[in-house]
């Protein structure tokens, strides 16, 4: 585990992004997996690699790691159809926050978010930067099946469900775009380090985008 700091910040993220990106590009023989987090990168090795050799490799990489190197940020827009059956918990968020649905959508689409890393389950983006006035606790009973592309809020986080899965987030809308492609996961729509924003779309637009 390589630790860059103890809290969550864009600066630490920049180091995590750069370090894991460079490490994955190098692809040393013997590395099994690289797990970026908010302020750390976990690296696991093949069992045939000696512990000392693994540590030496990471140390060497760390020593040669160009700390100031700025990775390029991609900007990605996620179109979202908010409310109704696509966002069945929008009313719940309104009730909890005391905001109108229009205000929730406005605040949710106003932010330029940062994708800190992809983790937890396949393609799941940890997105930071949500307007704190939208914070709403998780559902008491998680749904058994959340539809692909659902956009949700849980406490002070917002997220997108990249694959159909169980989940307890408040669903406020849905994107017609596939954000994750299991057959080509390196070229998914949403990636670590992306600057991301949501755009409110109409049902017509949703259907059109979904259709193509």
């Amino acid at each position: 585990m390589v630790k860059f700091g103890d809290d969550i910040s864009e600066n630490l993220h920049q180091q995590v992004f750069s370090f894991s990106h460079q490490l994955l590009k190098q692809s040393f023989n013997g590395i099994n997996n690289v797990h970026p987090g908010y302020n750390s990168v976990l690296v696991t090795f093949d069992k045939n690699i000696y512990r000392d050799a693994a540590l030496a490799k990471i140390q060497q990489f760390w020593d040669e790691f160009p700390e100031q190197k700025q990775e390029k940020y991609n900007t990605v827009e996620i179109p979202v159809l908010y409310g109704a059956k696509y966002g069945p918990d929008l009313d719940r968020v309104c009730e909890y926050t005391g905001l109108s649905s229009g205000a929730v959508i406005k605040r949710h689409t106003a932010v330029n978010y940062l994708v800190y890393f992809i983790g937890f389950s396949p393609g799941f983006p940890y997105i930071g930067g949500m307007d704190e006035t939208l914070a709403t606790p998780r559902l008491d009973t998680p749904r058994k099946q959340v539809p692909l592309g659902s956009v949700g809020v849980a406490n002070n986080q917002t997220g997108i469900y990249p694959i159909e899965s169980p989940g307890g987030w408040n669903l406020i809308g849905r994107t017609p775009l596939p954000i994750f492609d299991i057959n080509d996961p390196e070229n998914s729509l949403v990636n670590i380090g992306d600057k991301l924003h949501f755009r409110s779309i109409s049902k017509d637009e949703f259907d059109r985008m979904k259709g193509k």
Partner: protein, 309 residues
Amino acid sequence: MGISILRAGLQDTVQDLGRNGYAHLGISSSGAADAFSLRIGNLLVGNYGNAAGIEVTLVGGKYKFTADTFIALSGSEFQADLNGVSFPFHRGKYVQKDEILTIGPTQNGARCYLAVRGGIDVPDLLSAKTTHVVSGLGGYKGRSLQKGDTLSIGNLEEVTQVIDIKVKLDIKRNIIRINNGLQSKWFDGNSWSSFTDNTYFVSESSSRMGIRLSGESINSTRGHEIITEGIPLGAIQIPGGGQPIISFVEHQTTGGYPKIANVINSDLCKVGQLKPGDQIQFQSVSLEEAETLKFEQEAFIKSLKNNHA
């Protein structure tokens, strides 16, 4: 060449040694829960170690061979018969077209492996054949096998020397050895004593994703939430309730619970054999000891091959 599933077991899945290299995209490796036993199974039929086999959990099913095939069973011993005649474990044998292998309940640990010469042939997903059951990815249609499924068997052009096992492969799974975890210091002497002096029961809700344990509660002096970070295979997490969870082959790639310890590499195969109700105890070992044990296990597998060189 293939295998028809006449009746599926409780959870039969296609497994190889895992899909490494995609954790940064949220995809954990998956792979055989007891990789050691799958490797033995492959050696028994003359495959390379990474060929895919069928992982059978707790209770097996009925499997019909659509052509003459060379097969072996490895891992925990289950009741097994071929057309009504008892079928041995840890021995490679020819079966004929239309013969039916029935695997009953386990007589020991949680899992056994059906290895076939040529390996189970399903389409590769990201260069691996393992099924990630929780995410519905890979293997045969991303799921456990069902009645009516037919699996293809690969062609093996060059059969490696088939091994013959003379020792009894009996791995005791009640002692699980550990190294310190990333947050081991979050737990004081008392918590550590509770953790290693008591036994834990494997709970019903365990799966390939995680082994949930019940027993003495473990409390962290610094709370039960960390800033989300990577989780390695075998990490023992302590959530708020204080009941340990061993992250297993289909684990989440990142998580927010403190990790008191990590199961050492050579004992991961034991974790794959834990079944609900089993009683286990953790034993701390040094990093050096863990490494020695890992290489001893590798040397053992190598010795099986070399006996026939």
